[in-house]
Subunit: 259 residues, 4 copies
Amino acid sequence: MIYPGELVQLVSPKGKRYLRTFNPDEALHTHEGKLDLGLLRETDFGDYIKTHLGKKYRVLKPTLHDLLKNIKRETQIIYPKDIGYILLKLSVGPGSRIIEFGSGSGSLTLALAWYAGSTGIVYSFERREKFMEICANNLARVGLQDNVQQINQDIEEGIDLHEMDCAFIDVRTPWECLDQVVQGVRNGAPVGFLLPTVNQVSALLESMDQGPFSDVEVVELMLRHYKPVSDRLRPEDRMVAHTGFLVFARLNKNMPEKE
Amino acid sequence: MIYPGELVQLVSPKGKRYLRTFNPDEALHTHEGKLDLGLLRETDFGDYIKTHLGKKYRVLKPTLHDLLKNIKRETQIIYPKDIGYILLKLSVGPGSRIIEFGSGSGSLTLALAWYAGSTGIVYSFERREKFMEICANNLARVGLQDNVQQINQDIEEGIDLHEMDCAFIDVRTPWECLDQVVQGVRNGAPVGFLLPTVNQVSALLESMDQGPFSDVEVVELMLRHYKPVSDRLRPEDRMVAHTGFLVFARLNKNMPEKE
Amino acid sequence: MIYPGELVQLVSPKGKRYLRTFNPDEALHTHEGKLDLGLLRETDFGDYIKTHLGKKYRVLKPTLHDLLKNIKRETQIIYPKDIGYILLKLSVGPGSRIIEFGSGSGSLTLALAWYAGSTGIVYSFERREKFMEICANNLARVGLQDNVQQINQDIEEGIDLHEMDCAFIDVRTPWECLDQVVQGVRNGAPVGFLLPTVNQVSALLESMDQGPFSDVEVVELMLRHYKPVSDRLRPEDRMVAHTGFLVFARLNKNMPEKE
Amino acid sequence: MIYPGELVQLVSPKGKRYLRTFNPDEALHTHEGKLDLGLLRETDFGDYIKTHLGKKYRVLKPTLHDLLKNIKRETQIIYPKDIGYILLKLSVGPGSRIIEFGSGSGSLTLALAWYAGSTGIVYSFERREKFMEICANNLARVGLQDNVQQINQDIEEGIDLHEMDCAFIDVRTPWECLDQVVQGVRNGAPVGFLLPTVNQVSALLESMDQGPFSDVEVVELMLRHYKPVSDRLRPEDRMVAHTGFLVFARLNKNMPEKE
């Protein structure tokens, strides 16, 4: 049985996917007929419900990966391949208290909120009101809004946070908000950055060289899909070749002075 | 202040790293002198303690990534780049009930236990006693043993689990335990596999074609490190070129019969 | 001055490219007006000619890379990234006597003919008459037809060649024509294969294991383009992720028997 | 029959390779005994000769790829994967007249000389006398010295070449010798650059933006080796992840002025 308010993914016979918060009074109008969502009450995840034309729609419990792929976006989003790695590097887990500079459409925000859980909190800063809203909607749609505090301000105006567990920065000129990063997280904390161009990476590294950061790493993840055909197995013809470079470091306030 | 029993990472002046569970009565004997760990009581994460020769060792709270890199291993381990993506695809989170076929040295086990948390559980199967022990030690060392139930048996003998949330299979011939996968997870659940060779991927796809699986995907993740030097930024000369292929699918017990 | 019969590449103001063999009596009808090709007689490579509407078209001597990109194709062609490497591995050069099994649209044929030169020869086999013709047209268009002898037959019927310098095989089931490869090239000669799927690579390796081949290598080349913008340098968003796997070996008729 | 003066590659039973210019009076002293090279007179490429202890050494005609891998080097060399692509982009072929700025150890010089042939010429500039010599030796060893004119000077002092077919530049600060490039090649000619760091690529693009260059491209080639085992086919564990970025352009003296 599926309960009202649960997230549901409906998959058409042709593989088209619809993400919904289950409301038994709603219907989904598809090319294969009307789908009465009330039927979900008598089914279970993994099963099918039928349109009024008898077409079967598979009912799946969406994974975190599904939610991230279904983000409503008006910016370049952070991709799952990068998010997974960010989680491990920032050591995000139940109870984490996280700073995010640059909510964007909220794909990373959503994943951070998912893993921080109800005992943790994500402070997500976004200067542009429009993206604040998009992010808010993406969080509310999947019921994670309570784990996030959204803050609509320019980071350079200063922030009122201290001793957070980690920080992730996805803004165009992150070297301009390093002071806020240093102030916001506890000493030794892991911090991460996403940057699309090599010029940005270079500029960030130059600024970080001046400041209290050590263990600096620059990495890039590439995800290659294969055609899943047993007797004609081969990589897909085309792939996403670039999303962004990831920079990671640890705050180190006791660094020896640079000569 | 750091408390006895907490995990601590000590970083030497040259960057050598030591992972320890804090016991104030212990000492660490290093090339730069003896490090009295009792000193940790008066310090905090991010700070330094000194050896009896005055050399500073940085004190860090290890991230999950640090823990995964410090796994004691006697097998090929699953790499962080792959683990991060697996977490999202399997939708592992607080409370998840997970099947793992093939504990190996326990790197994925550790990450699953970390994210499932104390409200979740990982049932980790391993046929070889030696690896059971290595995995057990790796879990105990970081205090995650209570989130995992280790089971020392051949999977093909049958398992006593049902309706689990997801499964990950890292064994040499996964096509021989698909029946146990199908039995163990709830309908619609995400399942994943790691396989080093293309022949194994092909054999697995062939078996999955016969069975109740849909949404089959084959992917490969590549992680490229850059030299983090602002004015001479470039990829590292060499990289890990291959760890394994990842296969993901959803259990689909209501699949139409193959003609 | 450009002479009739020379290959010319015309580049529109917007970067559209036209490849032509220069005939002074022809005209090119473009969106920016009519281009009287007779004007080429009074210009030189690197300069411009104008349409009757005054739009400048740049006149370039096409490179081999340009010719390969302009191949008329009805099949998957072999890409320049792969062709360059094949040339070095097969040691193609002025005077080379080369066997090609599978002309396809003739992109590799063209490059082999270019480098073998007038003192060398490419014997290019193609079973399908249609592709024979496409290949013939692609060669004639760039004036390389005299360096190639096209042979329209099934390779398995047997070939009448011996002691050739090298061979390249681009057919669907290359393991079925290994006898012809062995017969056709001199002992020690380098041979190469292109195969899209891992299953084909595996099947070929299995057959080669039985036969007189050593120094077997399997490689794959990836070409990544960057946006050529000085202050926003970054990889292109998408790339060709797969063209084919390359297999290389040396004929070794004196191999010790397999036990 | 193999003739004195021919290049020969000898392969030991364990796969160790020796490149020699055949001199029948010489001997090769190996771990498996003395190899009287005079024996080569009675053998042929593809066959074996035996040491005085009866061990078989295979006799191969080295490919261009073999020669490039055997370059004596004291610098980072240009790799075959890059050389193959450079050849196509610069349209090097029999009769090509080529400028090379920065001979280094001469790996690209060798390949350019091989393909330009005796009717072409490579003008190879190198400021450092030591590398001049290394390059000279590498060319002489394979008999290609007559196709190359080595020039030991600082490029910025000016060069005495005009209307060459193409140019390749492999120096640390190529933006400082763009005037010499522009002077040296004919209008419309293809030019190429190799650069290890992104900062260099960015600086070069900035300079090229000011000058008479169009069709600018930045690419990177990755070569991945697979274990050539039929039933356990998989990528090698590690790979060369970076050699350099390639930049290509066409000289365009009639470019519209930048505003």
